[in-house]
């Protein structure tokens, strides 16, 4: 009798494991069961996390038992712990996802996760700073590090709001001993307080935890040796951004020390079509350079593309005076997506990376209100509602 019960229990348990979490993702987004389903999903992943993290925590921390980047299907959504200020935003999320004047509540973050998964997101990138003055770490703790979103990795905000010198948004001299120590401290904090406790969901490459820096090109001086030092102490994998074909030894060394590349933004030239074509050409050129580098060093760099739908920072105070950039039609955004898609596997490795909730710069693809200022007009595609997400789902969604 006992054997039969045990066998039955074993079969049921194995079935659940085999079916996996994907089967739970098809719940109705607006039904009252949403919370229950979501909770079920969280519960299942939590059990996996607890067991996985406990087992992995005992072992050697030289590798992270996480989710391998190259196994992830779908696009990467950048999500934020920021306050939504309607006056400074060019994208206005629907109230169920973000309340004006507030950061997303845990429930709203859970809703954002649901939407990301619904439209084909494969992982999320958490805007993060270890600086306690910003309170971002506590914010993410309150959402369980966006535990409804599935796999995640950190965007280490190393330029704005950091404890580097200078503290402004400019380049950081990484020859400065203070800056080198801050960098090490930050990585140590992230590793011990985010990566290790959440390692079953953390995105890795060959067991090394991915940390993304949105503008590594601004880490001047001998940043390369610092990256190598840190990588000896922690199993981390650095993805940089803003890098092109290097023109001096410092840049060459930094690119060699970085493990991958992923743009945060394509910039803001006024002509969207030209911007996306320039980006494509630049990517092809960078891949050519990385191939030569790989041939010399034997190191393969990961290259993740970036899909950008628009750029509009005209509401940011103080004024930046950058030109706005909107596609003239949805076909121009689809053309951008088409170029990325055709290059995945040759120029790019996977992706793309998409700014999901960057409201002030107008690039966010989050479901947004269709206001007078955000409606499509002839020659200007904004894509309010879920129009931006629909394009992502069409090209990169896999569910």
């Amino acid at each position: 009798m006992f054997r039969s019960i045990s066998a039955g229990f074993f079969i049921v348990a194995m079935s659940l494991v085999a079916v996996g979490c994907d089967s739970l993702s098809g719940y109705s987004p607006t039904s009252p069961s949403l919370v229950t389903s979501s909770g079920g999903l969280s519960e299942a992943t939590s059990i996996k996390e607890i067991i996985g993290d406990a087992v992995a925590g005992i072992g050697d921390p030289k590798t992270i038992n996480g989710v391998e980047l190259l196994n992830i299907r779908g696009w990467f959504a950048n999500i934020y712990p920021w306050m939504y200020d309607p006056k400074q935003s060019a994208v206005h999320p629907v109230p169920s996802l973000w309340t004006p004047g507030q950061t997303p509540s845990p429930f709203q973050m859970s809703e954002q996760c649901r939407q990301i998964r619904e439209f084909g997101g494969g992982a999320v990138v958490l805007e993060y700073s270890p600086n306690p003055a910003l309170g971002w770490h506590n914010y993410w703790l309150s959402t369980g590090f966006a535990n409804g979103c599935g796999p995640f990795f950190l965007l280490y905000e190393h330029i704005n709001g950091t404890r580097f010198i200078p503290a402004d948004g400019g380049p950081k001299n990484m020859n400065n001993p203070n800056n080198r120590q801050v960098f090490k401290d930050d990585i140590d904090f992230m590793f011990k307080n985010v990566i290790l406790p959440n390692q079953s969901r953390y995105v890795t490459v060959n067991g090394r935890a991915v940390i993304y820096m949105w503008s590594s090109v601004q880490m001047t001086g001998d940043f390369a040796s610092l990256l190598e030092e840190v990588k000896k102490d922690y199993p981390v994998f650095f993805i940089g951004s803003g890098e092109g074909q290097p023109n001096n030894t410092e840049n060459v060394a930094r690119i060699k020390a970085l493990d991958g590349f992923m743009e945060y933004s394509l910039g803001g030239p006024s002509n969207y079509l030209q911007a996306v074509q320039d980006y494509n050409a630049t990517s092809i050129s960078l891949r050519g350079y990385l191939r030569k580098l790989e041939n010399k060093t034997g190191k393969r760099h990961i290259f993740i593309p970036t899909l950008q739908v628009a750029y509009d920072d005209t509401n940011i105070i103080p004024k930046r005076n950058n030109p706005t950039m909107y596609a003239r039609s949805s076909d121009e955004v689809k053309y951008h997506a088409e170029m990325i898609r055709s290059n995945v596997g040759s120029v790019y490795d996977l992706g793309p990376f998409v700014v999901y909730g960057e409201l002030p710069e107008g690039a966010a693809v989050i479901e947004s209100q269709c206001l007078f200022a955000t409606m499509d007009t002839p020659g200007r595609f904004v894509g309010c509602g879920t129009a931006r997400l629909q394009i992502l789902k069409e090209y990169f969604g896999w569910r």
Binding site: Q277, K292, N295, R300, D331, E332, E338, M339, S346, Y395
Partner: protein, 329 residues
């Protein structure tokens, strides 16, 4: 008496030869020719059916125009272009397809003298597959000359192929454009006369480059969209060939074996992503020339590939059998 007379006559006849042999000092026959020795006696041929004419005078230069009758071309399979793997060359997956070209044939012009020859061919090849049309514009020039036994030569080619709408995207298709050029030079040894019988051995080195580009077709965008590089591969080449030809008044037969090795200029760190670093071709090509009239004839060329047909990565090539009408002047 009669008997005695007969015996005397017989003895006289045979004794003359007998005495002559014993008395005449015969020349010493050696196995090697002796300098200054001139045989006065022409050896008697045992069979007149293989009679060789006395060596002809040198022929003057010949200019010929070859007009192909068989419009079949070997080219890279469409699937390899769609899969973004054309630059990998011939690998495990299927590589070539043969199509019949439409439109004007590609003529070949040859100029041949005893110690120099030149060949040029080119034009536009249009083929129509099940769904796609392909247009290849290509030209090839080859020239070589010899001084004493030493042969030097060079060849070069350019080619551009355009396949509209071959790439199928989610919403938009894309055109494909392939541009290639290259050349090589060689030196070698030549025995004989290009216009008649000869044998040649060559060794050469060169450079080849091929560039594939795509351009999306977005009907609602009126501007000319950019072409984007799909791949760019450069190769150093190394080649060797042996060629021989026998020609009579009415017929000619040549046989040529070629070997070509392609080495990537920018090596591939990973064959799965960038293809192999070294590729090889080896092929045998024969040409049979029949000239029933002094200015008009037929040439049949046969090609057999042994290792690969990686040269299709750059430009299209004739199929294994081709027939030309030759006009010679």
């Amino acid at each position: 008496m009669t008997k005695t007379l007969c015996v005397v006559v017989v003895l006289c006849v045979f004794a003359t030869n007998l005495f002559a042999q014993t008395e005449t000092a015969l020349p010493i026959l050696t196995s090697k020719p002796v300098v200054g020795y001139t045989p006065f006696v022409k050896p008697v041929l045992t069979c007149q059916c293989f009679k060789i004419d006395s060596p002809p005078k040198k022929r003057g230069p010949v200019l010929s125009l070859d007009i192909p009758l068989s419009p079949s071309w070997d080219m890279v399979q469409e699937e390899r272009i769609k899969n973004h793997t054309i630059q990998f060359g011939q690998s495990g997956t299927s590589w070539k397809e043969t199509s019949r070209s439409k439109g004007w044939p590609l003529p070949r012009i040859n100029f041949t003298s005893s110690s120099f020859r030149m060949s040029a061919e080119g034009g536009v090849i249009k083929t129509q597959g099940a769904n796609l049309s392909r247009t290849m514009t290509q030209a090839r020039v080859s020239l070589e000359g010899s001084l004493w036994f030493v042969l030097v030569g060079a060849d070069g080619f350019v080619g551009q192929e355009q396949i509209p709408g071959i790439m199928k995207g989610v919403n938009f298709d894309a055109d494909f454009l392939r541009s290639s050029y290259g050349g090589q030079s060689w030196w070698g040894i030549k025995l004989g006369d290009f216009n008649r019988n000869f044998i040649v051995g060559r060794y050469g080195r060169g450079y080849v480059r091929t560039d594939g580009e795509i351009r999306f077709i977005v009907p609602s965008i009126t501007e000319d969209l950019d072409w984007f590089s799909e791949y760019l591969e450069e190769f150093k080449t190394e080649s060797a060939s042996v060629e021989g030809k026998v020609k009579t008044k009415w017929m000619g037969q040549s046989v040529r074996v070629d070997w070509m090795k392609y080495s990537k200029v920018v090596p591939s760190p990973d064959p799965l992503r960038f293809g192999e670093n070294y590729l090889e071709d080896m092929w045998l090509r024969t040409e049979t020339e029949v000239m029933p009239l002094s200015h008009l004839g037929v040439v049949v060329a046969l090609t057999k590939d042994f290792r690969g047909q990686n040269r299709l990565m750059f430009i299209n090539d004739y199929s294994s059998v081709r027939v030309f009408i030759r006009l010679a002047f």
